[in-house]
Amino acid sequence: MEFLSYLISGLSLGSVYAIIALGYTMVYGIAKMLNFAHGDVIMVGGYISYIAVTRAGLPGWLSVIVAMAVCTVLGVIIEGLAYRPLRSATSLAVLITAIGVSYFLQNAALLIWGANFKTYPSLISGTLKLFDNKLSIPYVAMLTIVVCILIMVGLTLFTSKTKMGKAMRACSEDKGAAQLMGINVNKTISVTFAIGSALAAIAGVLLCSSFPTLKPTTGSMPGIKAFTAAVFGGIGSIPGAFLGGLLLGIIESFAKAYISTQLANTIVFAVLIVVLLVRPAGLLGKYVPEKV
């Protein structure tokens, strides 16, 4: 029975990683940049939702919508101010800017909300008991898994069926050619950031509901893990990010349970190295040979 509990902890942790990884992979797939500030947008989403529930007294579901709205606006502003002016700069310059934005958000949160830990009021509490109480599954874990699957399916449909999705795929293939075909590249990338940041807000709420402390660096470690998950699954691939996130969560959980709590992270990253040695583009990533 413990095996199932560990599997469920792994799935629930993995789904949080997966939702964050979806945001990373969307932005990377379309704008070809690593948005390292993504983890910190998650933290902002968590704080906004916390403020909405505790200070403004809004119900939990409404606080998610408020957090999504604020994060969407924040994502578009970050893109417009920090990344758009660097559209033609080297990818290294954009990467460093993203790290700068990440620090900016962390320190701004430190100034605004202070460094004292806050305990996030869980959106849904309670657990489902099965097999004479031997197996308990927190409702929030189930919600996280369901939301993660919905988002994955929704994003896949969005990019493959809608006009905007088509524009995104075109930008991803070749920005210059897309522009010549009459696609507004800047607008497309802004929309990508808006979606990625809205996802970050949902991830923030789910992360804090499962693991309820909130501090300015809440997003950074899950952000790094999710980035790992995105690379693991094949960065740029939406199902890849989903698979990568879930696998990372499950491996971490089983490594803690059956091998060693001290070595959990070592094992996770060792698996990542092995996967990348065998499949350099990640599990579901496409290997695109570059013409020299």
């Binding site: 413990e2 509990s5 560990y6 902890s9 629930s12 942790l13 916390y50 505790t54 101010l81 002016p85 202070g114 460094a115 004292n116 830990f117 806050k118 305990t119 996030y120 009021p121 869980s122 657990t127 008991k129 109480n133 308990s136 927190p138 992360l207 499962s210 693991f211 309820p212 402390t213 501090k215 470690m221 899950p222 971490e252 959980s253 803690k256 349970a257 709590t261 001290q262 959990a264 992270n265």
Partner: protein, 396 residues
Amino acid sequence: MKKFVKVIALVLCFALIAAFAACGGNKDNDSNKATNAANPTNAQTSGESFKLGLIGPLTGGAAIYGNAAKYGAQIAVDEINAKGGIQFDYKAEDDEHDPEKSVNAYNTLCDWGMQILVGPITTKPAVAVSAEAATDRVFCLTPSASSTDVINDKDNMFQVCFTDPNQGTASADYIAENFAGKSVAVIYKNDDAYSQGIRDTFVAEAGKKGVTIAYEASFTDATATDFSVQVTAAKAANAEIVFLPMYYEPASIILKQAKDIDYAPIFFGVDGMDGILGMEGFDKSLAEGVMLLTPFSADDPKAADFVAAYQAAYGEIPNQFAADGYDAVYIIYEALQAAGCTADMSAADICEKLVAVMPTLTVNGLTGEGMTWDASGAVSKAPMAVVIKEGAYVTP
């Protein structure tokens, strides 16, 4: 848009210049401090009252400890000043639980003319500052920095609290005596000297006393978000007591995740657990029945006056750190009287006299009856276990 970017760039440039100017300010402090150190008698003494400095995290993640100690010390200073006789001039500086900022705070206090230091409150800053204070010959009494690294090789550094090894040993002894035959799970943070130190001595003492450790697990900063595996495994191992040598933030997640899977052992914490009830938004019912080893309980009759004064001034029930701060000031008061120091003496002269007198002193404080010190700076007193009932500490 272009213009806007230029304006932003200009503003950022100014911000940068301002930041450099601020750094320059710190350098000035350093050079001032250097002259002070070379010439300690230069520090301005008022001649009437002792200049008492306190360093602790007044903002930031550990602020709950620093502010409690600051307020506790303030109450003691007010009481002593009201008595007449020895007078204190008291000033507290913030270090944000950061060793470098702590040394800066120490330098600021030296410039102010500090003769005796209460603090630093937390371990890492205390290690950094104690090295400076040992060369400058400033007497330090830390209310709560519990690592042995704080006092090792420094004759002028003393502690009000137990050392980490003592906490581990005392916890194991308490469990062996009061919960004989129950099996224990230990969850600790293996990238943190405080947590690891207590765990090591706990496990060693548990071995001697025949306490069964059914399960042991660790975590690090990188894995401090999810404890469901550790909690499930502890439940599977049928551990009836879970020992948590850690600060209250990870502990609060462990309590929640244990409740999620209906696991209700006795959670047993150490002094880092103190503060969990003050956490914003924390569901206090989660901490119901949590035990912790602390030298102070607010419902202790001998602390009644202090608790009343503290509540009147700061609107909350004082924790152990407040009592440590209060005791620290009284210990210094007693030591100054015993050593016959006067307020016009230099920091270095006071330091020599106090270092000599500390091992001979016996002080009855809120955090222990008959506290004594050895020359290393470690205190000897009996710990007390408390249990959290309806959001307050009670003696079991």
